[in-house]
């Protein structure tokens, strides 16, 4: 046993050094080749991605295991939460409060929201990080209906949304909020909205990037001005039109 063998002494012998210095530098070539392929991948990504997405979307339709959903852009939603944990709310515990610059502030239960006229929209969902889920049905109450019922006062210009995860916030201008394709969604993909998707009720802003569609919606406050929401304070655009914001050129969703 000779644990303190000096490193690379002359005594190591010529053969030993030969193994190191002779031979082709294949390692370097593999290393540089990998870097080159990576750069090529970035350059050709738009083309590759389109092809792969259409292939995976059709594959995931026929995949009973759900494994394709785990592949990048595997044709599914991705779960994002900014809070450490999100309480669960059901039909008995859920409340949606409408207040701020309104004549009739009120609190809705889930049953009351369900009793209102429901609208169903089928649009693509586009995330600002790149994934897109085609033709996703959302169903719920038009936000404009809730605003009209509350009676928006003079001088109001925006709507602020709060969530029962305790952290997330969003905002829309009053004009944006009154669009027909903005819902308080109670159903998604023709099923009751699950907790992971922001249930029992979430905002659904069809024409904008999906971060505007705040999950676990618990409060609608009419305000004078738009206040940037959670991600918007971290660099995303407040007016998040799909294809016309955040420097992206995705096809508009609504």
């Amino acid at each position: 046993m000779n644990p303190e063998q000096p490193e690379a002494p002359e005594a190591r012998g010529e053969d030993h050094g030969a193994e190191q210095k002779q031979g082709k530098p294949v390692g370097r070539r593999v290393f540089l080749g990998t870097l080159g392929l990576g750069a090529l991948g970035v350059v050709t990504a738009p083309t590759l991605q389109r092809g792969l997405e259409s292939f995976l979307a059709s594959a995931s339709d026929k995949d009973p295991t759900g494994l394709t959903d785990l592949l990048p852009n595997g044709g599914g939603f991705r779960y994002y939460s900014v809070a450490s944990s999100v309480p669960r709310k059901n039909a008995t515990t859920y409340r949606l409060k409408v207040d701020g610059l309104v004549d009739h502030p009120r609190t809705y239960t889930l049953a009351e929201l369900r009793a209102l006229p429901q609208n169903r929209l089928v649009r693509d969902v586009q995330c600002v990080t790149g994934w897109r889920v085609p033709g996703t049905p959302f169903e719920g109450v038009r936000l404009s209906r809730l605003l009209d019922a509350a009676g928006v006062r003079q001088g109001a210009g925006a709507v602020r949304f709060t969530c029962f995860d305790g952290t997330y916030t969003e905002s829309l201008t009053l004009d944006q909020a009154r669009r027909a394709d903005v819902l308080v969604a109670l159903r998604m993909q023709d099923k009751a909205l699950s907790h992971a998707h922001g249930g029992p009720a979430r905002l659904y802003v069809a024409p904008m990037y999906f971060y505007k569609s705040a999950k676990w919606l618990s409060g609608i406050t009419v305000t004078e001005d738009v206040k940037p929401g959670y991600w918007e304070e971290r660099g995303y655009d407040v007016d998040a039109w799909v294809g016309r914001s955040n420097g992206r050129d995705d096809e508009p969703t609504s």
Binding site: M1, V26, L48
Partner: protein, 214 residues
């Protein structure tokens, strides 16, 4: 197979890795582990739901990724580590024999001659180094979005996602093979391996090593 007649000291140990190489491996492994775990928490829906705290997880992932090449760069001050990189870089005729045997799934020792590193380890090392830098580059594009045209971000995300998946699979293979060879792990942990193992697994390396080493 080496034709050695000196049987005494069968259980003797030989030096395989110096402290620099071992520490570079150790710290790189920890950083890579942090990258993989945080990536899983950002990416796998079930884990993302379990962990939440997206901003914190992103922050940890970014910094671990940024630090990932540092141990190797710091290791370059060590001559022993540079020598190991030299062994990894150079391919001799025996490496071609090894690769051909691997492709044929020929597991006989005699058809798998190897120097200090076998051809598989050499290719793995070169590839994972390149892949790590591609991940770092695409990661930086995703991190500092205002530095590059924004179309690049989508492209970078695409490459980052798919390469992450590939790295995960390859890394699992690397760890799996280490789990299957306790003596190789001992070499990385303590720097010493048994002479018997070295002669069996790395015959070309042992044959060329000085005879006096016991």
């Amino acid at each position: 197979m080496s034709l050695r007649v000196d049987t005494p000291g069968r259980t003797a140990s030989v030096r395989r890795f110096g402290p620099a190489t071992r520490w570079v491996h150790r710290t790189t492994a920890v950083l890579m582990g942090v990258c993989v775990v945080t990536a899983a928490c950002l990416y796998v829906p079930q884990l993302a739901e379990l962990v939440g705290r997206r901003e914190l997880v992103v922050r940890v992932h970014e910094w671990a990724g940024l630090a990932l090449p540092v141990p190797v760069l710091a290791g370059l001050v060590s001559r022993a580590f540079r020598a190991d990189l030299g062994f990894l870089n150079r391919f001799g005729p025996h490496d071609r024999v090894w690769l051909r045997a691997a492709l044929r799934r020929d597991k006989r020792r005699s058809s798998r001659p190897a120097g200090k590193f076998n051809a598989g380890q050499k290719i793995y090392a070169a590839w994972i180094a390149g892949a790590t830098l591609v991940m770092l580059g695409t990661g930086l594009i995703m991190w500092f979005t205002h530095l590059t045209p924004l179309v690049w971000r989508t492209s970078a995300t695409f490459v980052h996602d798919w390469l992450a998946l590939t790295i995960g699979i390859v890394l699992a293979g690397h760890i799996g093979m280490a789990l299957g060879d306790p003596e190789a792990r001992r070499g990385m942990r303590t720097g010493e391996v048994s002479r018997e193992w070295a002669e069996r697994e790395h015959s070309v390396w042992r044959r060329s090593a000085p005879r006096e080493e016991r």
